[in-house]
């Protein structure tokens, strides 16, 4: 097994929820479905206020290729449509889902089914799955890599899915292989999930072309490029995609969603979210309808503790701080974490002492110290020369920085400035 460069060993804190089975949260009273829940241009609503919608009905879509439609996660009445999202008051009696498996005649049709189900990468990046599965002209896919690393601290959704819904996962993998034309599949799982490894190994024993590999515990092992390096020894070229190596990487939750969409006809209307952190009274793994207000989800987990000071959508390394607890759960919400004052302590930023801890920790072999310097000074050309856009924003550099410099924040700001400049 190859090693990717750099990486860190943060405290994983997964024991808070790793042993807790997924529980279903009761339907929320209202949902708010955002029009951008994927990496790509927003969808346009196809419903208007006052419309009655059924659960699973498409309510927003776009002609853009790199996008996935928005699906009503509950039945009910549309109460508002604005530039950002669609509000629906849930019809409690009719929001249960029943459907039938879909029939398809070709990989292209299968990919279309996946698109229509609104499926995107559910590990957090939310890249539309059907796009990922479509090999560009002249290229073919040989290997599907299933990302079960789940290297973000606290998060245990993929872990629980692999333990509880392994059979569905394996069926999903077979569908994904069919959709992209992969001959073999490798499932990479971090070694700290022995029960998941045992279960999936058991379930895939009869398939010669699917293997399970226990990968070392090191953040960001679940980074697409890092996992590919670990499992195949190959590096995805700068600016390129795994497809350039004939590889497609998909996340565990995504594979389960694909199975449900195709075999059961059930589009992406819910997802599993780890609600954890010491600011949450009763940490849980919760299956929740998309669009549920974060506040209601937190209430379902016993509410916030008195000293909770920061709420995060996603993992602690790459997730975003939530300012408004009424904002909804989206397709990419893998976790909702609440941190106490002690966990979320903020430090004064000091001068870089050139210790190069960030250089040693960077899994992309960048020089984060210079990226931060040039980004902050808005020397954007220099920042680009130092491969600004090869940064995956994993946060290792900021994590190890003894001067507490928010390196990733500076890098993100510089990237946005350059993108804006290019658009002009």
């Amino acid at each position: 097994m190859k090693k990717f460069p750099g990486g860190i060993h943060p405290k994983y804190n997964k024991e808070l929820t790793a042993g807790k089975p997924i529980v279903d949260m009761p339907l929320p009273k209202t949902v708010r479905l955002l029009l951008t829940q994927h990496l790509g241009p927003p969808c346009s609503p196809v419903v208007a206020p006052g419309d009655k919608v059924a659960v699973g009905q498409k309510i927003a879509d776009t002609d853009a290729f790199v996008a996935a439609p928005i699906i009503a996660s509950v039945a009910g009445e549309v109460t508002a449509v604005d530039a950002e999202g669609i509000d629906i008051v849930a019809d409690q009696a009719n929001s249960g889902f029943t459907g039938q498996g879909k029939i398809y005649a070709s990989p292209a049709e299968l990919r279309q089914l996946i698109r229509e189900a609104g499926i995107v990468g559910m590990g957090g990046a939310t890249f539309p799955t059907h796009v990922k599965l479509t090999p560009p002209e002249g290229k073919s896919v040989s290997t599907l890599i299933l990302n079960g690393a789940e290297c973000e601290p606290f998060l245990t959704t993929d872990h629980r899915l692999m333990v509880e819904q392994g059979q569905e996962l394996v069926l999903g993998i077979k569908l994904l292989m069919e959709a992209c034309g992969a001959k073999t599949a490798i499932i990479g799982i971090e070694a700290n999930k022995p029960d998941a490894i045992a279960n999936i190994t058991d379930l895939t024993r009869e398939f010669d072309n699917i293997s399970v590999v226990s990968v070392p515990v090191r953040y960001p092992q679940g980074g697409e490029r890092q996992l590919i390096k670990t499992l195949t020894g190959r590096e995805v070229p700068v600016g390129g995609l795994p497809l350039d190596l004939g590889i497609v990487v998909s996340n565990v939750a995504t594979a389960v969603a694909v199975h449900q969409a195709v075999s059961l006809g059930r589009p992406l209307i819910d997802r599993v979210v780890t609600v954890s952190g010491r600011g949450i009274a009763e940490p849980k793994n919760v299956r929740v309808r998309l669009g549920t207000p974060i506040a209601e989800l937190i209430d379902f987990c016993g509410g916030l503790t008195a000293d909770a000071i920061k709420v995060i959508n996603g993992g602690p390394m790459m997730g975003k701080a939530v300012a408004d607890l009424n904002s909804p759960v989206t397709k990419g919400t893998s976790g909702i974490l609440a941190f106490t004052e002690k966990e979320a302590r903020e430090y004064e930023e000091r001068t870089c002492i050139r210790c190069a801890s960030c250089v040693d920790a960077c899994p992309q072999k960048l020089l984060p110290n210079y990226l931060a310097l040039y980004s902050r000074k808005v020397k954007l050309d220099l920042a680009e020369q130092f491969h600004l856009f090869n940064c995956i924003e994993c946060g290792c550099c900021s994590y190890v920085c003894p001067s507490r410099i928010p390196i990733v924040k500076y890098i993100q700001t510089a990237k946005n400035k350059i993108k804006r400049r290019r658009r002009k």
Binding site: P10, K11, R234, E235, V236, P237, V238, G240, D244, G303, L304, A306, A308, I309, K310, V311, I312, P316, M317, M318, G319, A321, V322, A323, L325, L337, F339, E343, A344, E346, Y347, T351, I353, R354, C355, A356, S357, V359, D360, P363, Q364, K365, L366, L367, N369, Y370, F386, H387, E393, G395, S398, Y399, V400, C401, P402, S403, R404, P406, V408, K409
Partner: protein
């Protein structure tokens, strides 16, 4: 439930390292050499160490108070960086150096070599070595007045004039390894330096590439320039400030390269220049100038050793 939540950027968790945790670890790493210096040079060493440590912190505190018109920022003197500079300066002084000279050296280090550049992280040259270069030029006689080590236990005795191994003193390799020879306070004991260096390596505060490059290049230089004498290699590594410089001075984070290859090149450069001075220049020792010279090259070294990033590969 709080009304206002923090909205700071990701990552939302941070590792345990801070500037002060690193700096105080360096202070801990300097304890073995400091103890050995007191063991061999008695009260003289003890007084110099304390004088230097205190003066570095006081000078930095006074400067911060004046610069920021108050004591709001004076607390940085406890981040350990001034303490490191103070200790390092004492450890590169001859045992008979007077207290006033040590205070001047610290003033040069803190005010001229560090704060004039903008304070911690911004200086180009190693502050302790700038101070040494300064007082060495201004008071060459004092800075080359060497003493024999006191016998063990004679800690309150007067020092007697002696020489260093590089200056022709007779010393066995074992004595030089333990530190029982003439020299600057901290540089005589290879054993104590190694213990401190190992601690810093284990803590991850220094990269092996700098000391290994430094010592390795010096050893090879000595080996070939002496027509393959292993004694010459051992002598050159144990004598003078080479080990101390390789472990504690060249590894200063602020003034060394941040790229991995850069660190190796930097170390090799230090080793070669040190040996070049020792063999061909009129000065007996070259560690100070070798490191200062290489400090000046650090921005260039970094610029020309930018590593290939992950994924800079040819697709076959």
């Amino acid at each position: 439930m709080s009304d206002k939540f923090l909205t700071g950027p990701s990552p939302h968790i941070l590792g345990g390292k801070s500037i002060s945790s690193i700096m105080w670890d360096v202070v801990i790493a300097l304890i073995p050499v400091s103890l050995v210096s007191v063991l061999y040079f008695g009260l003289h060493a003890f007084i110099l160490l304390i004088t230097s440590l205190v003066s570095a912190m006081v000078i930095e505190g006074v400067f911060m108070a004046i610069r920021h018109k108050g004591f709001k920022h004076a607390g940085v003197i406890f981040d350990g960086s001034a303490a490191v500079t103070g200790l390092l300066i004492a450890l590169i002084m001859p045992p008979t150096a007077p207290m006033w000279l040590v205070v001047i050296a610290n003033a040069v280090a803190i005010l001229l070599a560090k704060q004039a550049y903008g304070g911690i992280g911004n200086n180009i040259f190693n502050p302790a070595l700038v101070a040494r270069a300064f007082v060495f030029m201004a008071w060459p006689v004092i800075m080359t007045a060497w003493s024999n080590p006191l016998g063990l236990g004679n800690w309150f005795a007067d020092l007697t004039t002696g020489a260093t191994p590089l200056g022709g003193a007779e010393a066995s390799l074992l004595e030089m390894f333990l530190g029982n020879t003439g020299g600057c306070l901290g540089e005589t004991s290879a054993l104590a330096i190694s213990i401190g260096g190992l601690y810093l390596l284990l803590k991850g505060h220094i990269d092996w590439r700098i000391p290994v490059g430094f010592i390795g290049a010096a050893a090879l230089f000595a080996f070939f320039s002496s027509q393959f004498s292993l004694y010459d290699v051992a002598f050159n590594l144990l004598a003078g400030g080479l080990l101390f410089g390789a472990v504690f001075m060249a590894t200063d984070m602020v003034t060394s390269p941040t790229t991995k290859i850069g660190r190796l090149i930097f170390g090799i450069g230090c080793g070669l220049i040190t040996m070049f001075v020792r063999k061909f220049a009129s000065a007996p020792e070259g560690v100070t100038y070798a490191i200062l010279f290489m400090n000046a090259l650090v921005p260039l070294i970094d610029r020309y050793t930018v590593p290939k990033t992950f994924g800079e590969v040819k697709v076959s």
